[in-house]
C-alpha cells in the first residue's frame, strides 16, 4: 500500500477527531500498518471548526500532517469551503448531502452521501454519525477492513453504545455499497 493521507473536517460536536483516531488505530492495531493522527484546534475555541489528519502507510511516517489529502471528508459547508481546494489530484472527496452542497469543481472523485439522513432515519438521533461516515469511507476506499473498525469500536465504545455504533457502521457501509 502506498502512503495514504486522509483529512476529516467538520465542526466541534461531529466527532471527526474520534473518527480519525478510530481509523488510524484500526490501521495500526489490526492491519499492521503505520498510522499517524493529528488535529488542529481553533484558538482555544469551543465548538469551532475541527480538522483531523491521518496518514497511513506501510513505511515509517515522518511528516505527520496532511497538506494534500488523498481522501477528504467534509461534514460542514464551512469545512468544504475551506478545504476542498487542497485535495490531492485524483483523490476522493466525500461529503454529507445534509450538511454540504458541493459547488466547486475539483480534480477528484466526488461522492455525496446522505449519511446524516440515513442515521436519523434508522437510528433516530445523530449519534454515531461519525461512525457511519467511517463505514462509508472505508467501503469507498478499502483503506482498512470494516472488521478492523469494528474491533476498535469494541475496545473503545462503552457497551451501552456499542450496538448503535455497529449499526451506524453498517449503514455507512451500505450507503457506500449502493453508491458504488
Amino acid at each position: 500500500m502506498n502512503t495514504k493521507r486522509i483529512v476529516f473536517s467538520g465542526s466541534g460536536g461531529q466527532g471527526v477527531i474520534t473518527a480519525a483516531i478510530i481509523l488510524a488505530e484500526a490501521a495500526v492495531i489490526y492491519e499492521g500498518l503505520n498510522a499517524v493522527q493529528t488535529q488542529s484546534y481553533g484558538p482555544e475555541a469551543r465548538g469551532g471548526a475541527t480538522k483531523a489528519d491521518v496518514v497511513i502507510s506501510e513505511e515509517p511516517i515522518h511528516y505527520p500532517k496532511v497538506i494534500h489529502p488523498h481522501i477528504l471528508v467534509c461534514l460542514t459547508q464551512k469545512a468544504y469551503n475551506n478545504f476542498s481546494g487542497i485535495i490531492h489530484p485524483g483523490g476522493l472527496l466525500l461529503t454529507d448531502s445534509h450538511y454540504v452542497k458541493q459547488e466547486r469543481k475539483v480534480d477528484a472523485r466526488r461522492v455525496e452521501l446522505g449519511m446524516y439522513r440515513a442515521v436519523m432515519d434508522k437510528i433516530g438521533k445523530p449519534i454515531a454519525f461519525n461512525i457511519c461516515m467511517l463505514g462509508a469511507m472505508t467501503r469507498l476506499t478499502g483503506l482498512v477492513r470494516a472488521e478492523s473498525i469494528m474491533e476498535v469500536l469494541e475496545t473503545k465504545i462503552p457497551v451501552d453504545f456499542l450496538e448503535i455504533n455497529k449499526r451506524a457502521l453498517e449503514i455507512g457501509l451500505q450507503l457506500a455499497e449502493t453508491h458504488q
Binding site: 482555544e44 475555541a45 469551543r46 465548538g47 469551532g48
Partner: protein, 269 residues
C-alpha cells in the same frame, strides 16, 4: 442604550458553547452598568484566563485580558493608580479561587473598590472539564472520573472570612435579581464579590448527567432560595441567594489618598 450597544459586535456570535451561562452574566452585567448610567470610558474590565474570562474582549470598555488567576492583581494596580475608574473583574471559579485564591482573599482584606463577578460553573470550562475548588464533593470531572474527593469552598464563607465588605450570590436563572445585585455591587464602595452560579452544559453538565442548559438552569431555580425566605426555612439544604454581607469599611484607594493629604500632598488622581 441597548445591551448590543455595549458590545464589540464584530466578534459575535461569541465563542461560548450554546447555552453557556457566561453569556447571560455578560448581558446582565451590561444591564447593571446601563442602569447605573456609567460612562463607557470610565469602565475598565479586567479578566484572567478561562471561558468566563473571554468576556472583556466582547465589551466596548477598556478591557484587559490577563493571566490565569491574576486578574485581581492587575485590577488592583489599575484602580490604585487611577481611583476614578470603575473596575469590574469577571472571573471563573477556577480563575478566582484555584490559582487566583490568594489575590482573591487579599483583595477582600484590602477592601479596594473593585467588583468581582465570579461565574461559578463548578468546573474548569476552558481546559475541558477538570474539577475546580467549587466542584461539589463527589461530583465528576475529567480529573475526578470517580467523583472528586476534594471539598469545595463555601464561597460566601471564604469571602466573608477574608474580609469582603460586600458578598452576594445569584444565578443565571435569576436574571432580574442578578442585575440588581451586580448594580449594587458596582455601587458599593469597597471590594464587592458576586457569585453567579452559571451553567457549563458542555463539561460540568455532561460529565454529571445534568442534562441541557435548560435543565441546569431549572436546577438553579429549584435548588436555591432567597436568604431568610420561607423556602429556605422549609428546605434548609437549599443554596441561599441574595446579599450576605454589605458593610461600610474604609476603602483602600481612598485611605491612600487621605494618607497623601495627611502628608501634606496631593495627587492628580
Amino acid at each position: 442604550m441597548a445591551v448590543k450597544d455595549y458590545l464589540r459586535q464584530r466578534f459575535f456570535p461569541q465563542i461560548w458553547c450554546p447555552g453557556c451561562g457566561h453569556g447571560i452574566v455578560m448581558a446582565n452585567m451590561i444591564r447593571a452598568i446601563e442602569r447605573l448610567r456609567l460612562k463607557k470610558d470610565e469602565i475598565v474590565v479586567v479578566s484572567g484566563i478561562g471561558c468566563s474570562s473571554r468576556m472583556p474582549g466582547y465589551l466596548d470598555f477598556h478591557t484587559l485580558h490577563t493571566l490565569h488567576g491574576r486578574a485581581l492583581a492587575f485590577a488592583t494596580g489599575a484602580k490604585m493608580s487611577h481611583p476614578k475608574l470603575t473596575v469590574i473583574v469577571p472571573m471563573g471559579d477556577g480563575d478566582a479561587l484555584a490559582i487566583g485564591g490568594n489575590h482573591f482573599i487579599h483583595a477582600a482584606r484590602r477592601n479596594m473598590d473593585l467588583t468581582a463577578i465570579i461565574m461559578n460553573n463548578s468546573i474548569y470550562g476552558m481546559t475541558g472539564g477538570q474539577s475546580s475548588p467549587m466542584t461539589p464533593f463527589g461530583k465528576k470531572a475529567t480529573t475526578a472520573t470517580s467523583g472528586t474527593i476534594d471539598h469545595a469552598f463555601d464561597f460566601v464563607g471564604l469571602a466573608r472570612g477574608a474580609g469582603a465588605s460586600f458578598v452576594a450570590r445569584t444565578t443565571t436563572y435569576h436574571a432580574k435579581e442578578m442585575i440588581k445585585i451586580i448594580a449594587k455591587a458596582i455601587k458599593h464602595k469597597g471590594f464587592a464579590v458576586v457569585e453567579v452560579m452559571s451553567q457549563c452544559p458542555t463539561y460540568y453538565g455532561r460529565k454529571n448527567k445534568l442534562g441541557s442548559a435548560v435543565d441546569m438552569m431549572k436546577r438553579f431555580k429549584e435548588g436555591t432560595a432567597l436568604i431568610g425566605s420561607k423556602k429556605k426555612a422549609k428546605h434548609p439544604d437549599l443554596i441561599e441567594r441574595g446579599i450576605f454581607v454589605d458593610e461600610e469599611r474604609p476603602e483602600y484607594s481612598t485611605s491612600y489618598l487621605e494618607l497623601i493629604e495627611r502628608l501634606g500632598n496631593s495627587t492628580t488622581y
